[in-house]
Structures are given as structure tokens and as C-alpha cells.
Symmetry: C2
Subunit: 417 residues, 2 copies
């Protein structure tokens, strides 16, 4: 695949995130107006809600673009997803006859405020990068017991909290919680002192299911992908997570990037999962490559200081694909819904600087990392964390747009009143 040229010049920049090949879906507002559906193209956003009202986009079963979320389009199914992408590609391609008619519906991206692009039905988070699981397991249980016995058989996941999902740019408040150091007999209620990020990719379920689905069916149910930062309070997690898993440690916020990059846009970048260390049960075997080659990075900017890239990795490092995770999610008959969000789990590579969490980068705080003229074991108040990602094509990129958030200091004791 090569760069597809648009009549919008800024979309033809080979280093830009949003060429005609991408066409990601977001929800934006301008000047205090109502949030509405838009499509990123170069430095602009096409107001597709207005374009649909103007008759420039007509979808089967439409209108589908008038809400403040992309769920109606997702619900309409894969044929309609294809129809919209084809129509947008035609409208925005170099030489399109509709260019003049579309111009009034373009908004400068820099002037837009972004909102959550879809209504999150339920949120599930996985633990599916082998490097990450091995690192965390080595820290907590020793190198011999690093991977839990089930890890090579199951894409381990747990249910998260959909209400805590926020769009990139939303500040995150350092939480309070029950914490207990190993040398303490009893827990204290205190602000988290080991607040962390998790670099993940989120898969968005675009079609429902009501029984077990195969990996191929699951793959076809996935509408698109976002970057996802699963903010994590490691000290709260360490005390609470046995025996039923993380709970409040993961409930403060989960940030996602504002643009849904569609599975169709990513199709040229499909990549296989790594070689299996143990044969998978047949229901988890993939009929083809179902990961994607997406370069990922994490920047950390201390307050009033420049950002430093603290980790670089790739989505190919996952041991299980989103399609495998979704198929496993349905084995028990669990109904899946339009708008379900599946976090990949922290994506770590094999190198020390390819780890997707400060917990790993600083090895549990034992080896703080350099961030410019400062060091970090965990996030400090005022730090801004930014996830970035793109797939690199031949003279173009499929970019995700940043997933960023600044940590605000803890409030006073919420119960001291």
C-alpha cells in the first residue's frame, strides 16, 4: 500500500498521522457546541454529522452519524462500515467532485475539543504480553515461577470498570486507597505512592454475540483500535488483589486516544502472534495473522520540563491477539455488546527500554530510570504521560493520535470532613 492522495494537502504529509489511508473516527466539539461525529483527515476534521445531514453521505439504515458516539454505526454491521469508508475515501480523494460541497464541513483539528469516541459498554483488561507477564512474575514470585501455570493456555483477563474510561487529555487525580508495605502489620488509608501507567492497545467490539464465537468470527467483530493507558496504583493493587484480582487499583481512570483507527485501515499491517511455547487448544488457534505491526512509545514530561521517551515497543509483542482474547471471552456464553472495550494488557518487548509500565522500567522501584535531569520509579504529581502509536506504510503512516494525561496531586483525605 502507498499513500492515497487527498485534495486536503495536509493529509499528504508522509509523516502525518491521518492520511486518506487512515480515516479514523472521533467525536469532537468546537466553541462550546455539542459533541458530534468527525473523521480526521490531515490537519482537519470532516464533520460527518453535517455531511450526512447535507446528503453527502447516505448510509443503509441511516442516518447513523447524528449521535455523540460511533455506536450506531458499529451496530449497523460490517457492510455499512465498509460503505462508509468507501464513501469517505471517494469524497476526500484527490480530484473528488464533491470537494467544494465538503469544504464548509471541515474544521481545523487544532480548534476542536475531543470527547470519548464511543459509549463504552463494558471494559475488559487482559494480561497478554509474555515479556510483561514474565517481568512482573519474576519481581513478585521469582524467575522460576514467573509465568502462572495457566498463562500459556489462557489469554488471562479480568473485568474492569467502563465508567472510569476517559478520553485523552483528561487529567487524572492520584487516588487514595488501602496500602500496606511488607513491614507494616496493618493497612493505612493513604494516597497511592506507586502510581503507574500501562501501555496498551484497546480493541473495540463493534458487533454483539450471544454465545461462543471462533477466533475468525471474533476478528470480524472488532471495529477498530485505540491506544489505552490503564492507570494503575501498584501499592493498592499489591494489597487488594488476592484472591479475586485487581479492583480499586485499576478504577481511577483508563485513558484512550480520541480516534478509533478502524480494522480496515490497519489491514495492510497484520502480523502473526509469536511462536507458541505450548500448543493452544483448538478454539484459540488463529486462521491467519491477527496482530498488527504498530510502533508504540511512552513519553514522560515532568511538570514544566520537556518530554522524554521512556519506552518503545510494538503491538506485535503480544502473545495473544485481540481476536483470541475476544474468542476466549465468549467461551462461557458471556454475551458481548457493541461498545465493549478490550485492553490488550501492558505491551512490553524483550529489551529493558521496551517495557510498557514504570513498574517494569524501574524494576519495582529498585532501579529508577532517568528522565532528563530527574529520575522516576513511579509517576510524580504533575507528570504528563503520553502514549503514541503508528503503523508505518510505504510513504505514509496510520497514526493513532496521542493518548495523554497529567497526574494531579491527591486531594485531602476524602473522609476528613
Amino acid at each position: 500500500m502507498r499513500l492515497a492522495k487527498s485534495w486536503i494537502d495536509s493529509a499528504n504529509d508522509p509523516d502525518g498521522a491521518f492520511p486518506l489511508n487512515n480515516l479514523p473516527y472521533g467525536v469532537f466539539s468546537t466553541g462550546g457546541g455539542a459533541p458530534r461525529c468527525g473523521v480526521a483527515i490531515g490537519e482537519m476534521i470532516l464533520d460527518v454529522a453535517a455531511a450526512e445531514r447535507a446528503g453527502l453521505i447516505a448510509l443503509p439504515g441511516g442516518p447513523l452519524l447524528q449521535g455523540a458516539a460511533w455506536n450506531a454505526l458499529m451496530q449497523a454491521g460490517a457492510e455499512v462500515w465498509k460503505a462508509l469508508r468507501a464513501r469517505l475515501t471517494a469524497l476526500l480523494a484527490e480530484g473528488a467532485a464533491e470537494a467544494e460541497a465538503l469544504r464548509p464541513h471541515l474544521v481545523a483539528r487544532g480548534e476542536a475539543i475531543m470527547h470519548l469516541p464511543f459509549a463504552v459498554a463494558e471494559f475488559t483488561d487482559f494480561y497478554a504480553s509474555r515479556h510483561h507477564a514474565t517481568n512482573v512474575g519474576t519481581m513478585f514470585r521469582g524467575a522460576e515461577n514467573a509465568l502462572p501455570p495457566n498463562w500459556l493456555s489462557i489469554p488471562i483477563g479480568y473485568n474492569g470498570r467502563a465508567s472510569s474510561v476517559v478520553v485523552s487529555g483528561t487529567p487524572v487525580r492520584r487516588p487514595w486507597g488501602q496500602v500496606k508495605r511488607p513491614d507494616e502489620a496493618l493497612p493505612r488509608f493513604a494516597p497511592s505512592a506507586r502510581f503507574d501507567i500501562e501501555l496498551e492497545v484497546g480493541a473495540i467490539v463493534g458487533q454483539p454475540s450471544d454465545g461462543p464465537v471462533s477466533v475468525a468470527e471474533a476478528d470480524a467483530m472488532i471495529f477498530g483500535y485505540v491506544l489505552l493507558n490503564d492507570w494503575s496504583a501498584r501499592d493498592i493493587q499489591a494489597w487488594e488483589y488476592q484472591p479475586l484480582g485487581p479492583f480499586q487499583a485499576k478504577a481511577t481512570a483508563t485513558s484512550i486516544s480520541p480516534w478509533i483507527v478502524t480494522a480496515e485501515a490497519l489491514a495492510p499491517f497484520r502480523a502473526p502472534t509469536p511462536e507458541r511455547a505450548r500448543d493452544l487448544l483448538p478454539y484459540l488457534r488463529e486462521p491467519g495473522p491477527m496482530l498488527y505491526d504498530i510502533d508504540l512509545s511512552v513519553d514522560l514530561a515532568p511538570k514544566d520540563k520537556p518530554a522524554v521517551t521512556i519506552a518503545r515497543t510494538n503491538y506485535r509483542e503480544m502473545y495473544y491477539s485481540a481476536a483470541q482474547q475476544l474468542a476466549h471471552h465468549t467461551t462461557s456464553g458471556c454475551p458481548m455488546r457493541v461498545g465493549d472495550l478490550l485492553g490488550s494488557g501492558t505491551i512490553s518487548g524483550p529489551e529493558p527500554d521496551s517495557r510498557g509500565a514504570l513498574l517494569e522500567l524501574s524494576w519495582g522501584g529498585r532501579t529508577p530510570i532517568s528522565v532528563g535531569d530527574e529520575t522516576r520509579s513511579f509517576i510524580e504529581d504533575g507528570d504528563t504521560l503520553t502514549l503514541r502509536g503508528h503503523a508505518q506504510g510505504d510513504g505514509y503512516r496510520i497514526g493513532f493520535g496521542d493518548c495523554t494525561g497529567t497526574l494531579l496531586p491527591a486531594q485531602g483525605d476524602p473522609y476528613a470532613r
Copy 2:
């Protein structure tokens, strides 16, 4: 409190579930019509959607009763909850002037099909009965390590799957999943052979929050209660749950009783939590009694055989109240939403026949229980499990209505096609 008399005779039966003192909220349909809001009174249902349209009920900010769920009323807040209850009490009390006007809006309960009474936003399940946690812990980790170190400090909970919540009467299909016996080296994909119930009470969050709330505030946010059966595949759970908690083992179905019994109706039955074995952190301390004295039981009926009561216990056996659980749920800043459902966790008492799960009743299958002329370790195909509950007043009862479900046999291998 005594029985409050109604002009509907069947509501004055001292052993009936739905006297004027109760007035629980459900969603029903008749003759294939649309589901609508109704209130149980004796053997009848008052069609409150119709009564509101007829002008017999007028709520601030209304109409609020025209949807197929009670979420709009919950959203309206506690003052409106009180206003509706006061109006219903007046309309249905002995001697009410509106009796003749209401009669056309009464439906026989026996002719109604019940639906989920509210849209479940998110579902959280807890592990908060000390007897249950001690029994399970003893089986899995030995008597010395029965309670996890955090158990006496934290109301342990995990996020469940809202999409799997179904109304009483919905059949449940035995799930497939990854299972591995201790003597097996690798897992198999097979139907669960240790499928179980969990006798619980569900608390329904009726008001949202956007930051930490106190136990008293949490108590005021709870709209009402239902009986809840958290169907559980013990063999799937045993293999999957380390390190991130139960996932597919709990995702097949969670059944709830069809009538929301309001916190107001239960107010005369408030009861304290048991004495603390360890001081709680201040944020978890209760300003007053926040459990309820609710007698609970479980019946098991093998296919085509009479039901046998296999367990009797009481909601007072909980170590943590729903208000404590909800307060803990918000500590990290986790936003709570109207329609969130909190399962109490399995409610077991101190006696062998007061245990709320077959896992405990049969002690992990080692001591099968008698059920008429059969025995049971776990649920067999065709078994019908029914939870019952009521608070006993002076000459009246606040009943919950049954929470029942029949286990259907597993389907053929869902992936063999």
C-alpha cells in the same frame, strides 16, 4: 411496624410477599405486549405506566415510569423515590378514593411475564460473608490460611459482567471452558463439571457518584435490593483465577429476582454487621445498622422431582454491608452510575446447612448432600435452583419473589463446525 391494609384483599395475607408495606418495582408484559413498569401488590400488579398516563401518578420531573426499566425514577433522586412510594401507598391503602379509577390498571401477577427490572450499568460482585470466605479458604488453602490477609480490612470485590445478568426464570446453559484437574498436565476444553450457585443479595445503585463517598452517603445512594444467584463454574474458576481473579467462570449468567424491594420498604428490618475481628479503617465504619434481617433459602428440584430446601441463612450473616462495599468501591475515585448492581457475595451462616453454595454444602464434592432420593455435589442437568427471601414483620412479610433458573445441558462443542 404492622401490616398496612390495602383495598386489594390478596395484599392483606400475613404470609404474602407483597403487602402494602412492600410495593416492589418490576417490569412486566402481558399477552406479548411491550414490557412496562409495574408495582406488585398482593396477587396483582399495578400498571404504573398506565396509571401515570391516566394522571393518577404525577411525579416531579415526570413522566418517569414510561420506559421498560426503573432507571429514570432512580436517576430522579431520593425525594422522588419517596414521593412515588407515598403516592402508591395512598392509592392502594384501604379506603382510597381512587380505588375505582385504579382497577382498570391492575393485572393478575399470574398472567404477567417478568423482565429485568432495570438496565444494569455495571456489575460488581463481592466476597463478604466471613463464613463463606472461611469455608472456601479452608478447602483451598487449609484452615490456618483460610481468610486472606486483607479480608478483615477490605470488602473484597471484583468486577463482573453486566451483560450476563438475566431475570429469574431464564434458563441457564451449562458452559464450556478450560478445565484441568490436579492430575492432568494440561487443560482440556470441556463442559463445566462443577457448576454451582451462589446465594446472594444484590444492591442497586440509584444515584451516581464521581469521587469517594462515605458509608452514610453510599447507604443513601442504594435504591433497593434483589435476590441474586451468581452461577459459577468452579472447575473453570480453579484453573483461570490466578492471578487476576474469576473471569469466564462467572460470565455465563447471573440471575436476579424480578422485583426491586426498595430500601424504604426494608427500613424497619435494619440490622448491624457482626462484631469486628479487626478494627476497620475509619472510612469503612458504619454510622448505624446497615444490613437487613432477611431470611434466605435455596431450593433444589431435580428434573421432574419435588424441590428440597438445601440451605437456609440470613443476610445478617454478611461481614460487610452493601453500603460499606459501595463506599469502598469509590475510594479510588471510581465513578458509580445509576443501575450499577453490587452482589453481596455468597451468604453463608455458621451451620453446615446454612451455606449458600454447593461448593460449601458438599465440601468441594467430598460430602454430597441429599436431595430427596438423590444426592448432589454440584448442579446436574435439569436441576432447578430457586432462591427465596423475606423480612418478617409483625403480621406481614416483605417478600422478594423467587429467583429461579433451570440448568440446561451443555451444547455440543461450540467450535466443532
